[in-house]
Symmetry: C2
């Protein structure tokens, strides 16, 4: 989890998604600080983004580095006291170009206090993915899975584009390699395949 | 608008935000095709992302290039016929690595049919932004504005971190330079400043 947060801090400019009137909104912003295994951000009180977070304090963020490794985190946010604005300016001196001197007063800092996430490596075939949670949230396992209705016919294995399915008394899906495309689910003649929940 | 779409196609891997149970979800994916001023994408029927789009066919996307130019687009999507899956594979041959041969059958293509967007250049101070709409949507103007209650006291001008406010009989805000931080709004003693609507 800490690695995932530092990854986001390193690539820094990532996408931040919120909800307004039931519709998605997204913009590029920076992960400003990682401290005590928490992610800190800034926004200005006049922005639609700020109002969205006040009304619906849930945030999803994603970033990809130059090696096609993706980190996604989604969780609950809380606004934090103003000392974090100063801390963030110390850690991100270029903020002074946008908000010189006292102009930083219009900014508020907030923090993702709990949530779930995933590291996803698209540079390899099969892909690799790993989920994590923090702050008391519990993450859903990734990937499709196979239940006891399986008759080991092998149809799912040949349907999988990732070779993520292996033979056994009943077949098994390697959740770290599953793209969640659902081709095994559509192919299985025995309803033995269970879809994953979202992140 | 066409420039904005081609920008997204060129940087290709951008963030796609959806809504599930009122909460934001976001992932990195590719803009697969720009044709007739429409944006085309793919997803697999088994993914949570697909279910989110079926239940709530609104999508927000954002990408930033190496020069810190950002394009955001948000709008309504529709699933399109399967010929687009083949068209997309022709335009994006690396898709064959993930979904070789007939395995592409699990994919469905969709299109953003109408929406609004913004080009945002963060590499310059003051920033520059420009909005657009397509397919019949009407975009809200960006930026704060000043109404006739203005007494030309100049407080807003000195509050603005972007020097986006100029003097006249009543003061004016250059909406292409406005960060929407709201500092002028908080500073104005006459309630003469009007907040923008979201994108």
């Amino acid at each position: 989890m800490k690695d995932a947060f530092n990854f986001l801090r390193k690539i820094k400019s990532v996408a931040f998604a919120t909800v307004e009137n039931g519709k998605p909104c997204v913009r590029i912003a920076d992960v400003m600080l990682v401290e005590d295994d928490k992610l800190y951000f800034l926004t200005a009180r006049g922005k639609p983004y700020y109002k969205q977070l006040k009304e619906n304090p849930h945030l999803a963020i994603v970033g990809m580095d130059e090696n096609y490794v993706t980190v996604r985190v989604t969780g609950d946010i809380e606004f934090v006291d103003r000392s974090y604005v100063d801390k963030i300016f110390e850690a991100n001196p270029m903020m002074n170009d946008l908000y010189p001197g006292e102009k930083r007063e219009i900014l508020d800092a907030f923090c993702m206090i709990r949530g779930v996430g995933e590291i996803f490596d698209l540079s390899v075939v099969p892909i690799e993915r790993q989920r994590f949670d923090f702050g008391g949230s519990v993450v859903n396992p990734s990937g499709y899975s196979i239940n006891e209705k399986c008759v080991a016919c092998g149809i799912c294995k040949s349907a999988c584009p990732m070779n993520a399915i292996s033979e056994d008394s009943i077949y098994k899906i390697d959740s770290t390699k599953c793209l969640e495309c659902g081709r095994c689910f559509e192919a299985c003649p025995n309803n033995a395949i269970i879809p994953p929940l979202g992140l």
